[in-house]
Structure formats: structure tokens, C-alpha cells
Symmetry: C2
Amino acid sequence: MIATFAVRRRKLFPADENLPMKILYQPRTPDILLSNVFGALSDPTRLHIVRLLLRTTEITCGDFEIAGAKSTLSHHFKTLREAGVTSTRVEGVQHFVSLRRDDLDARFPGLIATLTCAEEPF
Amino acid sequence: MIATFAVRRRKLFPADENLPMKILYQPRTPDILLSNVFGALSDPTRLHIVRLLLRTTEITCGDFEIAGAKSTLSHHFKTLREAGVTSTRVEGVQHFVSLRRDDLDARFPGLIATLTCAEEPF
DNA sequence: TCGATGGTTCGGGTACAATCGAACTAGTCT
DNA sequence: AGACTAGTTCGATTGTACCCGAACCATCGA
């Protein structure tokens, strides 16, 4: 059985729906779920991104040579943001991503420490 | 294309291979990888198991009413053990599962604290 | 207004994970 | 030996995640 319900929205005609591309959802602090955070951090690429953010405060998608396709990287950043791990500040064309360090520390004390330790081969 | 290589081992003839069922692999402490630990903890059922283990020191698979099938539960315990989160002690027929608290604390300080906090709806 | 830049979204392929029932195994008890 | 218990393993199905290229969009500079 093939799902057919996802075809609804075709984007080729710009004005017929006004759901903007720039929503950038992120959960409120009390809504951050530990299992989601762990899920976001269970991917080696994303864990690497977060470890970078522990040292750099802010990065953009373009600051990466690591990953392959742009869309893949965008997907990882979205996953981190929607899990509540990062937040994104839009400035002109660039998206600056930072760790929600205080929020995470308030909600899950010890997590930041866990991430900081042990440099490992992922 | 359908994979055909997995058909090799049929178990209906007991003595033709002696790979025992009782291996119960778990990684040595320095081999525990953070991304694997996070992966194991990203499932709500397994996170719940681990939270239980923070209070109970040891449990058996039978101590659960939560999950559905026995095989599913067994799978979750295997995942936790192979990620390095738990260890299993066999005593007669029962398997006693416990948190590798010291190992985790040594390798990833703060992780246990993270798990201890915040009772949440998973 | 046109093109470049820095991303997001879509659609699809492929790989992995969760779940289950059925079959099996290994100990224990009678 | 036979039945019971506690769990593992197998095989299949279903669902989800990762990854990519193509299309799209919004902003900026010329």
C-alpha cells in the first residue's frame, strides 16, 4: 500500500499557500524531551556538530567541510533544533546555530558535562 | 532485489553448529561509544528501563508489565547491553540486568545525573 | 532586475530499527 | 523423562532515519 496523502502540497505555484519556509520551530524549554535529545545526539555527525558548538558558540551550515550534501546537513541541523538542542538565529542569508546550553543545563543537569568530556572516535 | 544470503543458518537441526545461545556480549569500558549509548537511550521504552534501574539495582525481563511481546523486551535488553549501558548476570533460568553505573560514570561523567533528574512523560 | 549565495523542502532509494509470533534452548521441578 | 519457566533467536512486516539531487526561496550586491 502506497501512501498518497503527501502529494497535497505542490510548491510550483508560489502564491496559492502562504506557509512560509521560515518558521524554524524549536520546543519551549519545558517541552524538551530527553528521549528526543538522545535521539538527536545518537547520530555521529550530529554529535560532532554539538561538540563543535561547545567550543565555537555559533556556526553556520557553511562552516562545514565534513558532510556531503547541503540538504543532508540542513536535515541534521533541523533535527537538532527540533529536539531542543540548538537554536537558530537568522541574519540576512545566513543561519547562525548555537547550543541551547542554559536550557539544557536547566532541564538536564549533567548533560553538557557528558558532552564535554572524552574526545573519542565518535 | 531481494537479499538471499541470510538464509544460511537454519536452527532446526540442533547439533550441526555449536554457536551457543549464551554469549551475552557487552563492550569493555573503554570501548563504550557515546553515540551508541545515546542511541540506546533514545527509545522511550529503554529509557524507562534505565530509569527503573536507577532505583532497583537489578531487574529481570519478567519484572515488566509494560511492553508487549517477550521478544521485543528481550531485544531492548540486548540493545542496552551491547551499547554498554547494562550488564547481565545469569542465575539459573533468570537473567538479572543491572546498570553499569561505575563504568558509565567513569567514561561519561554527568550522564547518570542526567538520567536521574526530571521525571517526565518520556 | 539579474545572478550569486546560503540555505530549506520535496521525493525517492536504501538501510536500519521496532514489533510480533513461532520456534527453540537451557535450567528446574516433579 | 516430561512439563514448566524464563528467556533468546528467527523470519517477516512495518515504520523510521539517513542520504542525495533537484527544485525552490529569500536576501544581498552589482
